[in-house]
Amino acid sequence: MATKEDVLKLAALARISVSDAELEKFTEEFDSILAYVGKLEELKLDTSGGAVVPPVRNAFREDGEPDAPGMHTEKLAAAFPQREGDSLSVKQIITHD
């Protein structure tokens, strides 16, 4: 059983807020989803085979062929919400208080 406190705690972890009006509905829906997903508990799995190695893994490439400096800068900076010229601003996170 999920409680309203559980949902609020998950929301805090996920950095979203759930309004009072939504909390009841979310908790109820969460319960019915968990009841469904909980079917997994009855599943008995044979794990004797050990880990299976996927056919594609550790796919790295060699460093090289860098893009020209500044090639993407303007396009990426243009999406930034708070910008003055080349200065991109976010909120101050360390204070002197």
Binding site: D6, V7, L10, A11, L13, A14, R15, I16, S17, V18, E22, F26, E29, F30, S32, I33, L34, Y36, V37, G38, K39, L40, E41, L43, L45, D46, T47, G49, V52, P55, V56, A59, F60, R61, H72, K75, L76, A78, A79, F80, P81, Q82, V90, K91, I93
Partner: protein, 473 residues
């Protein structure tokens, strides 16, 4: 020509362009005209693009020079989570309403090289989460076969655009059935390729171990042309593989078709099941063999999916925080900036899945849910591998029932999730699956299309095209 240009298939349009019965501009204009005329009612497109004169002219030149691939000059509908440089890509979310793609996805790059044109970006469930387009932040798309019904989702907008002849063909993405289910509900062919067959670079990520980009076509041949034009290894997607990576043998003309009867005993619409059986009988009469197969863990595939997928969703969508791009709300603190942006930007289903994903990954539950589901995924794959010893393809109905009405399932998330009961396994196992139309069922004197789905081992798309073409022949 016997039909309007916007109703042509890729193969027909390519032939007409080469026979000079049609110009690229005329084809574009007929499609754009239909798109503009029908979109107010069907809401297939979130944005219909203006004509790209240079691209139209270049495509015509290549065709006139006699050296153009079949896709040259063909107008396509593109799901709103596939990046096209300079165009908005919102994933039908308020979160990315103002986000302009800074680069082309690999699929778009390949389509541009082939000379294809883009009619617009299509509606979808927000961040590809849903089976009806009812989770779009911009209103649902409507099924052209009955506008009181959903077109399926999440790639519903692309399906509607193609089915209503507002584009010649289109692309969607499929994480748990998001191409195949809308294809079935709108009478189209839809392919979920082998995991890694098509690069996901430039696809807005949902569930990274499940996502694939794939085509919608009016015919199997069209879907095949689109798949072949976009497949291949890509340095920008480490999970992508070359076309010959999996050594799946081509099946002969006649195949053994595996049917998991034990899994089709309940929960399926009677008329739809009758259409499924009739289609199998037709294939048997054509010389294919039906084989009973057992997939004992299939009944758990959907719960497994609803653990793995939200876990990946909550992880992928953590990057959307209002700092670098997208919706940016500002509060008292930096944390408030995140929380307010994410709360205002994400719709209810997205938030629900983020919460669920956060839950199954939390320290107290990760073993019971996520790790268990991950192991079950291997079991499912092993069962399919074993079944493929006895058959070349496995057949399922694509959906348990025909297209449902708006609002019918929005009150109960689990009933909506059950739409994907037959489609999620292909994403969990990474195997390719193709939905092709198998006739229609009648509801309230309207004919609603239904689909049959074939699955093959990884790299076995050829088999799917062969058997799919036979169904629709």
């Amino acid at each position: 020509m016997t039909k309007p240009a916007n109703e042509l298939t890729i193969v027909e349009a390519a032939a007409a362009l080469r026979a000079k019965e049609l110009t690229v501009r005329e084809l574009w204009e007929e499609c754009a005209l239909a798109a503009h005329a029908k979109n107010p009612e069907l809401n297939a497109y979130l944005e219909i693009f203006a004509a790209d004169e240079a691209a139209i002219e270049a495509a015509q030149k290549r065709i006139d020079a006699g050296e153009a691939p079949q896709l040259c000059g063909i107008p396509l509908a593109i799901k709103d989570n596939i990046l096209i440089e300079g165009k908005i890509a919102s994933a039908a979310s308020k979160m990315l309403e103002n986000y302009t793609a800074t680069y082309d996805s690999t699929v778009i790059k390949k389509l541009k090289e082939a000379g294809a044109l883009f009619l617009g970006r299509t509606n979808m469930d927000e961040f590809a989460m849903g089976s009806s387009t009812e989770n779009s932040a911009y209103g649902p798309s409507k099924n052209p076969h009955d506008t009181s019904r959903v077109p399926g989702g999440s790639s519903g907008g692309s399906a509607v655009a193609v089915a209503a002849h507002m584009a010649i063909a289109g692309f969607g993405s499929d994480t748990g059935g998001s191409i195949r289910q809308p294809a079935a509900h709108t009478g189209l062919v839809g392919l979920k390729p082998t995991y890694g067959a098509v690069s996901r670079s430039g696809l807005i990520a949902m569930g990274s171990s499940l996502d694939q980009i794939g085509p919608f076509g009016k015919t199997v041949e069209d879907a095949q042309i689109l798949f072949e034009a976009t497949r291949g290894k890509d340095a920008l997607d480490a999970t992508s593989v070359a076309a010959d990576f999996y050594k799946t043998k081509e099946a002969g003309e006649k195949m053994r078709i595996g049917v998991p009867r034990h899994f089709l005993k309940e929960g399926i619409d009677a008329d739809l099941l009758a259409a499924f059986n009739a289609t199998l009988a037709k294939l048997e009469a054509a010389g294919h063999t039906l084989v009973d197969i057992e997939l004992p863990t299939s009944g758990y595939a959907l719960p497994v999916y609803y653990v793995i997928m939200p876990a990946e969703v909550s992880t992928n969508l953590a990057r959307l925080d209002g700092i670098r791009y997208g919706l940016a709300k500002r509060g008292e603190t930096l944390l408030a900036d995140y929380v307010e942006s994410r709360t205002a930007g994400f719709g209810p289903e997205t938030r629900r899945r983020i919460l669920l994903g956060t839950f199954v990954l939390s320290s107290g539950y990760i073993d019971a849910y996520y790790r268990k589901a991950d192991r079950a995924r291997l079991t499912l794959t092993a069962e399919y591998d074993a079944a493929f010893e006895k058959c070349e393809v496995i057949a399922f109905p694509t959906t348990p029932s025909p297209a449902f009405k708006f609002g019918e399932k929005t009150g109960d998330p689990v009933s909506m999730y059950l739409e994907d009961v037959f489609t999620v396994t292909a994403n969990l196992t990474g195997m390719p699956a193709l939905s092709v139309p198998m006739g229609s069922v009648e509801r309230e004197s309207k004919q609603l299309p239904v689909g049959i789905q074939f699955t093959a081992p990884k790299g076995g798309e050829e088999r799917l095209f062969t058997i799919g073409a036979e169904v629709t022949a």
